[in-house]
């Protein structure tokens, strides 16, 4: 009785395993498989949804125009989208699976820097090109030949925010509250601290918390006592509204500013009126879009019923950088595609013009400063690289 049960369970497990593997090793080369690692669930699920929307839109467009010409033959593009839960350890598993089981030609993702950073060594050692749309931390591409990004990097962004705070807002004293357990938050907070001090400003408080903390009152009470002119919150959109709320409840009336991780409709849903009059740096502004951006925003809105956030726009750009590279490589070969990406020059994307200088996976791009006004993201100013 007991033995039969054990035997049945074991056979079932083996069956599941065999069937599971069988479907994965289907190694057909009649389509161009590209992996996508995105936070479909977890704390950045809204960014995961934007990522998925953007790649599916790009896939639909390229395939309806016949696909990409490879080896003299038109081939369709197929995105394989996996959930990395916004966790570095899961991202590593996803990269491994996409490369060894799905045998993808390239990977788009992930979005948070801590995750892209966990996937990058795997892409690098397997010589599979990776383009991260939204990861701005410099370490992601550093000393790596196969890792690229579609966005600017934090040393530039942090400087842009510091300049804005010091020159345009006239702030002399700044306080920072950031998540020390996340690469992105920590990186940009430190750049801002150094740049703001270099300009002659004073960092009066530099406080940290850990991912998933929800009570910031102790740190904010400490910040309040230093009476800052600006409070910089370089954190993700799911946490920022709570931080602003607690700051205001404690009577902090400093001007609040942030960075590109603010850009998601969730921010406005959670924060509401509290966000009025705050500023953040971003990759593009919907309201000053050029022709290329307008077309994208229009198509995205028609298909999904909402305005694309920066993560969606950058993912779309990453997809087209890759399409262009495959077309120029004319081969379904990761090495050739990598070389073609590296030689990308003056690519006209939704978020600006992208060129890679040989030896670097970081494009040189400008940033914009956005103001939140009447519950909308309004363009305020541009920052040139």
């Amino acid at each position: 009785m007991g033995k039969i049960k054990v035997f049945l369970i074991l056979s079932l497990l083996i069956l599941v395993f065999v069937v599971g593997c069988g479907s994965g090793s289907n190694n057909s080369i009649d389509e161009l498989k590209i992996g996508v690692s995105a936070p479909l669930t977890g704390d950045l699920a809204a960014t995961g949804a934007s990522t998925k929307n953007a790649v599916l839109l790009a896939e639909e467009e390229i395939n309806s125009s016949g696909g990409i010409k490879v080896n003299g033959k038109m081939m369709k593009v197929k995105f394989i989208i996996e959930d990395d839960e916004n966790k570095p350890e899961t991202t590593a598993t996803v990269f491994q699976k996409l490369i060894s089981q799905d045998r993808v030609l390239a990977i788009i993702g992930s979005q948070a820097s801590k995750c892209s950073n966990a996937g990058a060594p795997i892409a690098e050692s397997n010589k599979i090109p990776q383009i991260t749309p939204w990861s701005t931390n410099p370490n992601v591409t550093k000393d790596r030949k196969y890792v690229f990004r579609a966005c600017f990097i934090d040393p530039f962004q942090g400087k842009a925010v510091a300049l804005f705070a010091y020159n345009k807002l006239g702030a002399k004293k700044a306080a920072v509250l950031y998540d020390i357990a996340s690469d992105y938050n920590k990186g940009i907070a430190e750049v801002f601290r150094d740049e703001f001090s270099n300009l002659g400003g004073q960092i009066v408080a530099f406080e940290t918390y850990n991912t998933k903390d929800t009570d910031f009152s102790a740190q904010l009470t400490k910040i309040k006592a230093t009476n800052p002119d600006v409070l910089f919150l370089p954190n993700y959109y799911n946490e920022v509204p709570l931080q602003i709320q607690q700051a205001r409840k404690l009577g902090i009336d400093a001007q609040i500013i942030g960075a590109d991780a603010w850009d998601n409709p969730e921010l406005l849903k959670l924060g509401g009126e509290l966000l009025e009059g705050t500023y953040f740096s971003n990759h593009y502004a919907v309201d000053i879009a050029g022709d290329k951006s307008k077309a994208f925003i229009e198509k995205y809105k028609n298909k999904y019923g909402e305005v694309p956030d920066a993560a969606a726009a950058l993912t779309y750009d990453a997809a087209y950088i890759l399409f262009g590279a495959i077309e120029r490589a004319q081969k379904a070969d990761p090495q050739a595609i990598r070389d073609a990406i590296a030689s990308t020059k003056d690519f006209e994307g939704v978020t600006g013009t992208i060129s890679y200088n040989e030896g670097s996976g970081d494009p040189v791009k400008g940033a914009v400063i956005i103001k939140i006004h009447d519950g909308k993201f309004i363009y305020d100013s541009s920052v040139k690289p």
């Binding site: 669930t41 809204a46 400490k222 009577g251």
Partner: protein, 292 residues
């Protein structure tokens, strides 16, 4: 000085939420010697029930609080009946593993039902800022939350110490094998304990969702914190759970205030280990006296 008082208010608010969760841990352990690791997730479910009542039905705050406490109490009773009842005489480890399973089940159920996004229970209480004296501010909702929490703890203490059912609970905690001989219905007492523990956790969930934010995995970290608070206070002891919670919150807040926010958890837990070395059974716990 103002800053110390301001930080003290922060600590009391955080401690009140920890205490509402820690009480359930402590009571359940007192009665059936089970470390109910699903308790943090019951707290989370309570917060989401409150969220749904506030968003979908737009009930007034008092009704949200009472209805959520009632529904979550039913959930607590159901979990005990379905998952723990048959294992009551099994090895303790089987019960703990079952509790972990129930917790994981609840997290994923809620994630499937409402999605993984962070939300906040819309403000039901007034957010007016009161300026007490120079520099010290407190919002009205904060005061109310602290007040209701402390009131709930007093009611619980009176219930356990002054009523007949409370007496029966203490008897069951004392010796679960002998009390049936006295005509006490053990199953009923265990259900009452789960109901009270879950209802208090639900109240904590609502306060937490008003002041901070909620998501399906919030119960894991907070459950751990409350569990540790209960152990430091002396698991099984009601007073101990409350004392342990305020101590933990105080250490956390003052570490951030006067040492460094980087060290918050490190220092908080190092201090708690020291407390346990001094009082191995917790501050209020005694080796083998009555426990509820």
């Amino acid at each position: 000085m103002e800053i110390i008082i301001q930080q003290l208010i922060n600590a009391v608010q955080l401690g009140a939420v920890y205490a509402l969760i820690a009480l359930g841990y402590s009571m359940v352990y007192g009665i059936i010697r089970l470390i109910n690791f699903a308790h943090g997730d019951i707290f989370m479910v309570g917060a989401f029930i409150g969220f749904l009542l506030a968003v979908k039905f737009k009930l007034p705050f008092v009704f949200i609080l009472l209805l959520t406490m009632f529904l979550t109490a039913l959930l607590g009773i159901a979990i005990e009946r379905i998952a723990y009842h048959k294992l009551r005489n099994a090895h303790r480890m089987s019960l703990v593993i079952t509790a972990l399973g129930v917790g994981t089940f609840l997290e994923n159920l809620v994630r499937l039902a409402v999605g993984p996004q962070t939300r906040q229970i819309p403000a039901q209480l007034s957010n007016n800022i009161l300026h007490l004296t120079n520099g010290i501010v407190v919002t009205e909702d904060k005061l109310l939350i602290i007040g209701i929490s402390i009131m709930l703890m007093i009611v619980l203490w009176l219930f356990v110490n002054k009523t007949l059912i409370g007496k029966a609970m203490r008897a069951v905690a004392d010796n679960i094998d002998v009390v049936p001989l006295m005509g006490i219905n053990v199953d009923m007492i265990v259900s009452v304990t789960f109901a009270i523990g879950s209802a208090l956790a639900a109240a904590g969930g609502i306060f937490f969702g008003q002041s901070y934010s909620i998501e399906p995995y919030m119960g894991i970290d907070l459950g751990w914190k409350a569990f540790i608070a209960a152990v430091v206070g002396g698991i099984g002891s009601i007073e101990g759970a409350v004392v342990g919670s305020f101590i933990l919150a105080g250490i956390e807040v003052f570490t951030v205030a006067y040492l460094s926010s980087n060290l918050k958890n490190g220092i908080a837990f190092a201090l708690l280990i020291i407390l346990l070395v001094i009082w191995p059974y917790g501050i209020m716990g005694k080796p083998s006296l009555k426990k509820v």
